[in-house]
């Protein structure tokens, strides 16, 4: 980023870097200052964060019962074979 303030079309390209915390402090400051005055970018960042949050929900669902049963049976078999 240059010394002047950041534009919206630049901000959307560095959002990931910003959220990773790998942005230099001066750039981070310009990013934050822009967010304070730009509703469009504030909305974009919120939507980007929401995308990540909603995607994370795909991590939770029950393991199918048949799968769990087979795995526990396999575990018992493995355990038994070790103590022999």
């Amino acid at each position: 980023m240059t010394q002047r303030g950041i534009d919206c079309n630049e901000l959307v390209e560095v959002v990931t870097e910003y959220l990773e915390g790998s942005m230099p402090a001066a750039d981070r400051k310009r990013f934050d200052e822009h967010l304070e005055i730009c509703e469009g970018c504030e909305t974009y960042l919120a939507q980007y964060r929401q995308t990540i949050q909603l995607t994370g929900k795909l991590a939770t669902a029950d393991v199918g019962e048949p799968a769990r049963g087979k795995l526990l049976a396999a575990f018992r078999g493995w355990k038994a074979s070790r103590s022999g």
Binding site: V15, G40, T55
Partner: protein, 212 residues
């Protein structure tokens, strides 16, 4: 590499002792994200489920060898990825260069912004992005929304899908993903950035009322 976690060593030790409850907890907590990572490689739900089963068996077979040099999660996912690649060998190739070339894919269509020669607001939003709560029947918290995300991930270039699923679903760290996929941190971030931008656009279309 992630620093050794005492908790990881406890879990490994519990498995070695034959603690079935510990194994069951792990299976319940990890299997769904593991399935989603496998899916990003094998593109078939049934095959992905097989890969996860195989991985758990391999984890048990190999647990004596876990020394805690990497995190348990990293160790398990390395096994998973190896099994996924073996099961679907055409995916066992290096990241296609087109996915990591800089400047290849804007996060937002350029037409959403005012041009650089605009007299007042060059590079600014022509109009702010539409809010996502305009259609009450399309609620962010619904199952339908998750289906939209699933479909968007399935449509991603493979390397982007792999990175996003590992980061945002399996919650692996950027260092772990870079290591597992043999990517530089910069390339990993570019892939993640593009993937998230695409999924965000899919959600934008969905919340804007387009047919999913």
């Amino acid at each position: 590499m992630e620093p050794r976690s005492p908790r990881d060593l406890d879990i490994a030790e519990a498995l070695r002792r034959g603690d079935e409850a510990a194994f069951e907890r792990m299976v319940l907590a990890w299997s769904t994200p593991m399935q989603r990572v496998a899916l990003a490689y094998v593109h078939d739900e049934g095959l992905a489920a097989d890969v996860v089963q195989e991985t758990w068996l391999a984890v048990l077979e190999g647990i004596d060898g876990f020394e805690g040099k990497s995190s348990l999660r990293h160790w398990v996912y390395r096994i998973l990825i190896n099994h996924a690649r073996t099961r679907f060998t055409k995916e066992a190739r290096t990241v296609p260069m087109s996915s990591v070339l800089p400047g290849g894919e804007p996060a937002v269509e350029p037409s959403a912004f005012l041009p650089p020669d605009d007299p007042e607001w060059p590079g600014h939003w022509a109009a702010p992005p539409a809010r996502w709560d305009q259609h009450p029947e399309r609620c962010a918290e619904s199952i339908e929304t998750l289906r939209v995300i699933e479909a968007a991930i399935r449509g991603l270039p493979e390397a982007q899908a792999q990175v996003m699923v590992m980061r945002d679903i399996a919650q692996l760290s950027s260092e772990e993903v870079s290591g597992l996929l043999a990517l530089s941190p910069g390339n990993q971030r570019v892939l993640l950035h593009r993937a998230r931008a695409r999924v965000r656009r899919a959600l934008e279309r969905y919340f804007g009322g387009e047919a999913p």
